[in-house]
């Protein structure tokens, strides 16, 4: 449908053909679209959808690891974990701000999250059951996020792309502290090795699901690629992730829970087995191991912060009266 020419797309999307052609020419020249520039309604809609989902993921993403701050095994690990969770809060803020430049309001975005209407990354609906899960999340989950975010740093919408550049820098700290932890434990005591193996066994498949449905089942992809929001598909990113992680995890002596995983000389890719998409859709639709718990925690946090928002607004109103 979206390999079609601009005239046809203009009709389908009910946009002015000349404006749409100019807009697509700007993207083809590598220009960044900035707030206030003309853009198709569908471009704005898709960006608000993506950026707000991404913001929600950063915010909900604080919960699985945040639960371990009081149980970190050393002061160094505790400082690192606090800093990482704080970074994720900051990422949520960058992204909500970026969505606000498109006219989305904080209230509608938070309402959508708290009412369960908005999606966020399926990965955060799994429980963190041992300390090693923090290492697995850093190396696998933040590692997967970096691939996606490195692509989005080249995205055609200026504020989103600039937020991503900043986020990627910080995510590299997240990934590396996790990788360091997994490497050390994989060479540690039998208990540490078993703990790390168990963590990777549980997090491997949910991480592969993070990249989203196969390209054939991803209806938005073609338009997102045409307009320079995405430059690579879900399956391409997922393959690159497996190619990076499989040899490194094996070098650590860790078994990847996929009997079909093997290196393919011809393509240079690590081929992997079928993903359980039923599980993916179940978790996305709200029925994962921790969905209810995550939403309850977010609602409680929002309620607990109410008096702060009210005090800030009251203070601002009072100082305006005095002016």
């Amino acid at each position: 449908m979206y390999g079609a020419d601009v005239e046809q797309i203009a009709i389908e999307l009910n946009e002015d053909p000349q404006k749409l052609a100019d807009f697509e020419a700007r993207i083809a020249r590598g220009e960044k679209i900035e707030p206030g520039d003309w853009m198709p309604t569908e471009y704005r809609r898709q960006l608000i959808r993506m950026i707000s989902q991404h913001a929600h993921s950063e915010v909900v993403g604080m919960l699985p690891e945040g639960a371990w701050i009081t149980r970190a095994p050393s002061l160094r690990r505790k400082l690192i974990l606090i800093a990482k969770v704080q970074d994720e809060a900051g990422h949520g803020q960058y992204l909500y701000h970026a969505a606000e430049t498109l006219g989305a309001t904080r209230e509608e975005m938070l309402d959508a999250l708290l009412s369960g209407k908005a999606k966020y990354s399926s990965i955060f609906n799994y429980h963190t059951t041992t300390w090693a899960d923090n290492g697995a999340i850093g190396w696998l989950v933040d590692g997967a996020a970096i691939l996606n975010q490195t692509m989005l740093a080249r995205c055609s919408y200026g504020p989103y792309s600039r937020a991503m550049v900043r986020i990627c820098m910080e995510e590299n700290f997240h990934r590396k502290q996790g990788q360091e932890m997994i490497i050390l434990y994989s060479q540690g005591t039998p208990t540490q090795r078993a703990m790390v193996q168990d963590a990777i066994t549980r997090w491997w498949w949910p991480t592969l699901m993070m990249f989203g449905p196969h390209d054939a089942d991803s209806p938005n992809s073609a338009l997102l690629i045409r307009w320079g929001i995405k430059t690579r598909t879900n399956d391409q990113l997922r393959q690159e992730f497996v190619n990076q992680l499989a040899p490194d995890l094996q070098a650590c002596g860790i078994q990847i829970p996929d009997p079909e995983l093997r290196y393919d000389e011809a393509s240079g890719n690590w081929l992997f087995g079928a993903i359980d998409w039923d599980e993916f859709w179940r978790v996305i639709k709200g029925d994962g191991p921790a969905n209810a718990e995550r939403m309850a925690a977010r609602r409680q946090a929002h309620e607990d912060g109410r008096w702060v928002r009210e005090a800030l607004s009251a203070y601002a109103a009072k100082s305006q009266v005095q002016l």
Binding site: A83, Q86, H97, E100, T101, R162, Q177, E180, Y315
Partner: protein, 184 residues
Amino acid sequence: MNDTQWPRYEVFQQEAEGKPVLHNGTVHAADIELALLNARSVFARRPDATQMWVAPAEQITSRTREELAADPPAAEAAGAAEAYYIFGKLAEQAQASLLGEVGAASGEAAVAAALAQFGAEAALRWWAVPAAAVLKSDPADAGPMFAPAREKTYKDQAEYPVVTMMRQLRAKANTNHKDTENTK
């Protein structure tokens, strides 16, 4: 009560003395003082700031090169001249950076003055920010505002030598492999 009525503020930041003042992103806040505090929490978690500015987004006049070509800004405006900071986006991938200051009686007149002073080709996009609307971090607060991030070296990815660690692991695996071969 909710926080959606809060206005948006643009955030500008200078990484170090002598470096340019760059546009960094936006925050929203109940008032400009809180905007500066929010900007500090959001944008100064890494050791790369000596000062930070915030300005209400709605008071900024923004014009692209195309808009200016189609509709040149009027240089004349009624009223007294005031100072405007002029920011320009110099390249597609770049953040807007501070070019200098002009005096003008309106945002549009400030853009016209900027075109005359810096050249119409100097920037892809121009911003005129009324100097009176800007709140800058107090240099006396630079320590408490920006120093804590500097001590937290563990936030730097360079603290984690994972590439070397992986190389050592592989080397060890290879020697072990040779040892077993030899004993066969």
